[in-house]
Structures are given as structure tokens and as C-alpha cells.
């Protein structure tokens, strides 16, 4: 191909200059102002988000300190060596482009393979990528790096050097850096969902009726001075009911995660959950000695040592239960790129659930606290977890995410001879902010 034709066009255009319209700077300035405003808007638009970010600042700062590290002496030397080689190569190629010397050309060619070999080393690639990719989107940084690698030679047409190796290696570099991007992350999150205790008591009817009939041989009748207006005596105590209905839950937690291969990653963390449920029952226990009123389920199934009670079947009443759990989830996640920077993550795994306490408000509006020590609740349970979340980067280090998760106890959270089962489930929303490294 006749290069002279191209060179003539290049000479005509390469250094050409054409002034843009006088309004161009104003447009650019307006766009820059808009960008600056957008960054502020994102944090302050939602007070909840702002509070959440404020609440997480201490944790984020600690994580930044933990994750950030200065280059080791070896890495610094390596980076400096690579940069020196790139500078030396560029200087050499400027001389080559003058066509002054074939020996210079061959020297440059010799220099090139060494640089390529250097670029193959993962540590160096990663280090160079880290320098070049601070505050720059991944794709733009890769294009710039490719352009820098290529342009220093490609501008000087007909320099006799093949850039194929550089292009291929820069692509390998790009692939490598893409793979190594953002391996670890640390997240602060919160969630809320309906909470279904899935508390079932097989044979409750039989248990309750037997207990009621055995109470001093007959059902007790209580006069109005006992002041239990809603707990009257039924004239046909043949139906005993005990049902736990769903309440709600709120959880907050910390998560750490890591990419293991390709789009797969793992995560674990610590989460605290407070959940509520309501027990509707018409079967009550009254302590023979203290008169303390409680639900039959509490005294006969949950409580380990409730004392001697008479059992009464009456009108339905409601008791509010509150549960406090600490969880350690262990989950696998899989990234799915959606549009632009938005990605979805599918998560699944198990959660190690530790019951801290259960607080119930009795019919007399008194609080009673149950722990694994004084009740038949089990301290440790296993739950299955699955969900999906959407993740969007605010900047190079921070992502916001929102998602939905379903969790269901696999093991029963209570152990009782009656065969009572307590396998809570939750399906709700969660949101968080993640710091990536």
C-alpha cells in the first residue's frame, strides 16, 4: 500500500484546528455543574439513605483502613520498572519514526517483547490497572490503556514494528483486569419482611382439653372480680384453638463477600433480626399459687418450668410474641449483568440462626422473656436462604443494592414432646451499601 498518499492526508489533517462555537464552553460548564450537583443529590435526596450512609460511615472508614494498603516495596519496584520501560519504549519509537536507523528499529523490537512479557505477569497487570483505574470506569480505563499502548507506535506509521503483539497482550491485560476487578466487598444492610413463625402444635386440641378437664377435676369458674372480662367461660369447651399468626421483622447486618471464580462469589456476615408474631388462643393457664395468667402454649410447650397451673378454655385472646435472632448466613452469589452498570445477583445458601430471646406479653400485659436456657426453644437452628438483589455502583468503590430474600427454617426452633414445631419463614425486602475492593 502506498503510504505516501496516507501521509499526505495525515499531514493535512493531523494538526488541523477548527474553533468550535463560542457557546461550547458554556455547554461543557453546564454539563460539569450538572455532574457535580448529581453527586450531591444522590446522597441527600433520600433522608433515609443519608441516615443509612451516615450510620455506616464509621464502618466504611474502618473497612477502608482495613482494605487499603500501600504498595509493598516489590510492587513499587515492579510498577516503576514497567513505567520506565514504557517511557523508554516511547522515546525509542519517536526516534524510530524518523526512519533514521534500522538498528534503532531492531532495538525497539527487542524492547517490545520484554515489555509484553512484563505485562503478562498478573501482579504487575493488577498493579498498573489499579493505578490507572482509580475513579475511572473499567471500560474507559481499558480503552485508554490500549490507546496509550498502541498510539505511541501507531501514530508513527510505517515504523516497521508490528503492533499485533501489543494489541493482543493489551487485550489479555484488559481481560485480566476485568477478571480481577473488585474481588472483595463489605456491606452494611437492613431489611424488613413479614415474619411467619410457622408454629404448629399437633394434638393441641387433645392436650388442651385433657389439661382443662384434669384441672382440679373440673373446669374452674372465675367470678367477675377476677377481672378477666375477655376471658369468659365457654359453656361448651370442646374446641381448643391455638394459632400463631404472622407479624413483621426488621434486620440489620454486616456482610463480607468475595468473588471466587467468574461470576460466582461467596458471602457471609452477621445479622440481627427482631421479629414479632401474635398467638391467638382460647386456652389459658392460671398458676395455682400466684394466679399468673398465661397462654397454655406458653406454659405447657414453650416454658420449661411453669409450675402448677389450672387450665381454662375460654374466649379467644391474643398474645404478642417478639423474637430476637442473631444470624450468620453463608451464601453463594452469582452476578448477572443487566443494563449499563446495573447488575443482578442471585443468592442462595444457608443461615445459622441463633435465638437470643423471645419476649411475650401475657394476658395481664406483663412481659415474660424466654431464652434457650429457660425454655424449650433451641439455641441453634438452620435456615435455607434464597434471593435476588440489584446492585448499582455509586462510584468505583461503593455500590447500593436492593433485593428480596426468602428464608425458611429447616430445623425446628423448639423441641417438645408434643411434637410442636417452630420453623419461621421470612420473605421481604432488604437494602444496603457495599464497599468494594
Amino acid at each position: 500500500m502506498n503510504k505516501s498518499f496516507e501521509n499526505q492526508w495525515k499531514d493535512a489533517f493531523y494538526n488541523a484546528s477548527e474553533p468550535p462555537s463560542p457557546e461550547m464552553w458554556d455547554k461543557i460548564e453546564a454539563a460539569l455543574d450538572k455532574q457535580d450537583r448529581k453527586a450531591s443529590w444522590l446522597i441527600w435526596r433520600s433522608p433515609k439513605l443519608g441516615m443509612g450512609i451516615a450510620a455506616g460511615i464509621a464502618l466504611v472508614m474502618g473497612s477502608v483502613f482495613y482494605f487499603n494498603h500501600t504498595h509493598t516495596p516489590d510492587q513499587m519496584h515492579t510498577v516503576a520498572t514497567v513505567q520506565e520501560q514504557v517511557s523508554a519504549r516511547n522515546e525509542m519509537l519517536e526516534k524510530v519514526s524518523d526512519g533514521t536507523s534500522e538498528s534503532l528499529q531492531s532495538t525497539a523490537v527487542e524492547l517490545l517483547p520484554k515489555t509484553i512479557k512484563k505485562w503478562k505477569k498478573v501482579d504487575q497487570i493488577r498493579e498498573l490497572a489499579q493505578q490507572k483505574m482509580v475513579e475511572v470506569q473499567q471500560e474507559e480505563a481499558v480503552r485508554q490503556l490500549q490507546a496509550e499502548a498502541l498510539a505511541s507506535k501507531s501514530l508513527q506509521a510505517n515504523n516497521g514494528l508490528t503492533l499485533a503483539e501489543v494489541k493482543v497482550e493489551s487485550q489479555a491485560f484488559a481481560g485480566e483486569t476485568k477478571k480481577k476487578k473488585k474481588e472483595k466487598w463489605f456491606s452494611l444492610g437492613a431489611g424488613n419482611s413479614p415474619f411467619n413463625p410457622n408454629f404448629s402444635t399437633p394434638n393441641f386440641q387433645t392436650m388442651a382439653l385433657n389439661a382443662a378437664y384434669e384441672s382440679e377435676g373440673s373446669l374452674k369458674l372465675y367470678d367477675p372480680p377476677f377481672n378477666m372480662p375477655q376471658y369468659g367461660i365457654t359453656t361448651s369447651p370442646t374446641e381448643a384453638s391455638n394459632e400463631f399468626k404472622s407479624g413483621g421483622s426488621v434486620s440489620v447486618g454486616l456482610t463480607v463477600g468475595k468473588k471466587i471464580k467468574g461470576n460466582w462469589g461467596i458471602e457471609t456476615g452477621l445479622r440481627f433480626t427482631k421479629a414479632t408474631a401474635t398467638n391467638y388462643t382460647n386456652v389459658y393457664s392460671i398458676n395455682k399459687y400466684t394466679g399468673k395468667l398465661n397462654s397454655f402454649a406458653n406454659t405447657n410447650i414453650i416454658d420449661k418450668s411453669s409450675g402448677e397451673n389450672d387450665v381454662l378454655i375460654g374466649h379467644e385472646g391474643a398474645l404478642k410474641y417478639e423474637y430476637n435472632f442473631v444470624s450468620v448466613p453463608v451464601l453463594a452469589n452469582y452476578d448477572i449483568a443487566l443494563v449499563e452498570k446495573l447488575k443482578a445477583q442471585v443468592i442462595a445458601g444457608i443461615s445459622n440462626e441463633f435465638l437470643i430471646s423471645s419476649v411475650v406479653r401475657t394476658a395481664q400485659n406483663k412481659k415474660e422473656s424466654f431464652t434457650p436456657n429457660n425454655s424449650n426453644y433451641k439455641r441453634y437452628n438452620l435456615a435455607g436462604v434464597a434471593g435476588v438483589r440489584l446492585s448499582y455502583p455509586i462510584n468505583q468503590h461503593l455500590d447500593v443494592n436492593v433485593g428480596t430474600t426468602y428464608q425458611h427454617f429447616v430445623t425446628s426452633g423448639i423441641e417438645h414432646s408434643s411434637g410442636a414445631v417452630f420453623k419461621p419463614s421470612m420473605w421481604g425486602m432488604n437494602f444496603g451499601i457495599a464497599l468494594k475492593k
Partner: protein, 184 residues
């Protein structure tokens, strides 16, 4: 006024005075680049605006082992190519192009003004024009162009040959017209 190093630092800090100074220094050359790739001035305006926003946004990642002008030029070219990609240009070429390579000292470019040469380039079909710009003026190799535009190397070469033939015809026609006027 800032010196070059100071200028970049001040631009990174968001100093509008420094940013305007940087803009004034490079706007002319970069606008000329945008004009070569895009169909018309409004499109070139958009490319220049987007490119400068990217330049100021990514300035902190600039490393001095690459000439600054080259770095900003690359950003303008990439911005132009992104804008062109949205048009889904079909680079495939079906006609056979016979490009007889020959050497001539003077193709007649020197007789034409910058504006006339720019008009000639802009008359080329879009696919040819992009590849001609990348190969002849920016100096990319056909393999690199193929990877940038997601086409085959053969297509890049064919499109360039087509551009070359078309431009040579225009230059020849222009020379014939000029010679006729000279002798009339």
C-alpha cells in the same frame, strides 16, 4: 495562568478557570478531529462536549508516560466512535474495489484548502470515512481497527481501499478542473 502540570492539577480539583484554560488550549484541534468523524457540526459539537466532560471526569487517571494531547485525542475519537456505533453502521462491503497502488509525488492535496479536503472526506460513505480516518490520519493498523469496530480485518482493508479510490478520483477530477481553468 497555570503551567501544564499545575493546569491539570487544578482541573482535577474542579477549578473552572483552569478547566477553561485547558479547554481553550485543545478545543480547536479536538473539534477538528470530531468534524472528521461526524456527519455535521451539531453532531461534532455533541462529541466535543461529551469528550470534554469525560476528559475532566477522568483527568485524575492520566499518567504522564503518554503525551497529554494524545490522551485527549483518544478520548475524542472513542467518543465519536461510540456515537457512530449507535447508528449501527454496516461496514460490510459487497463491491469489488480495485485499488491500483501507485506512487505519485503530488496528489493535489496541497492545492486544496483544509475545508475542501474536509468536505471530500465527509462525502465518503460513513463506514469508509471512519476507517480512512482511523488508518490514514490516526495511524491505526487494520487489525486494530477491526477490533475497535468489531469487523474483520479484510473488511477494514476493503473499506479503506474504497475510500482511497474515491478520494483519488475526487482529487483527479479536481486537478482536471483546475488544469482546464489554467489553460483556458
Amino acid at each position: 495562568m497555570f503551567d501544564d502540570k499545575q493546569l491539570i492539577q487544578e482541573c482535577i480539583k474542579g477549578n473552572r478557570v483552569a478547566q477553561k484554560q485547558l479547554y481553550s488550549k485543545f478545543a480547536g484541534k479536538l473539534y477538528a478531529v470530531a468534524l472528521r468523524y461526524m456527519k455535521n457540526k451539531p453532531e461534532a459539537d455533541d462529541v466535543l462536549q461529551d469528550a470534554f466532560v469525560k476528559i475532566f471526569g477522568n483527568l485524575s487517571s492520566f499518567r504522564s508516560d503518554c503525551p497529554f494531547e494524545l490522551w485527549v485525542r483518544r478520548i475524542v475519537i472513542n467518543t465519536a466512535l461510540t456515537a457512530l456505533n449507535r447508528r449501527k453502521i454496516n461496514y460490510d462491503i459487497t463491491e469489488t474495489v480495485i485499488d491500483e497502488a501507485y506512487f505519485e509525488e503530488n496528489y493535489g492535496l496541497n492545492d486544496l484548502s483544509y475545508g475542501e479536503l474536509l468536505a471530500m472526506i465527509n462525502e465518503l460513505p460513513e463506514g469508509c470515512k471512519t476507517i480512512f480516518n482511523l488508518y490514514a490520519i490516526e495511524g491505526y493498523k487494520h487489525q486494530e481497527i477491526a477490533e475497535m469496530l468489531h469487523i474483520s480485518e479484510g473488511t477494514s482493508k476493503s473499506q479503506f481501499s474504497r475510500a482511497r479510490v474515491m478520494l483519488m478520483e475526487k482529487l483527479n477530477n479536481n486537478r482536471l478542473v483546475a488544469d482546464r481553468y489554467k489553460y483556458e
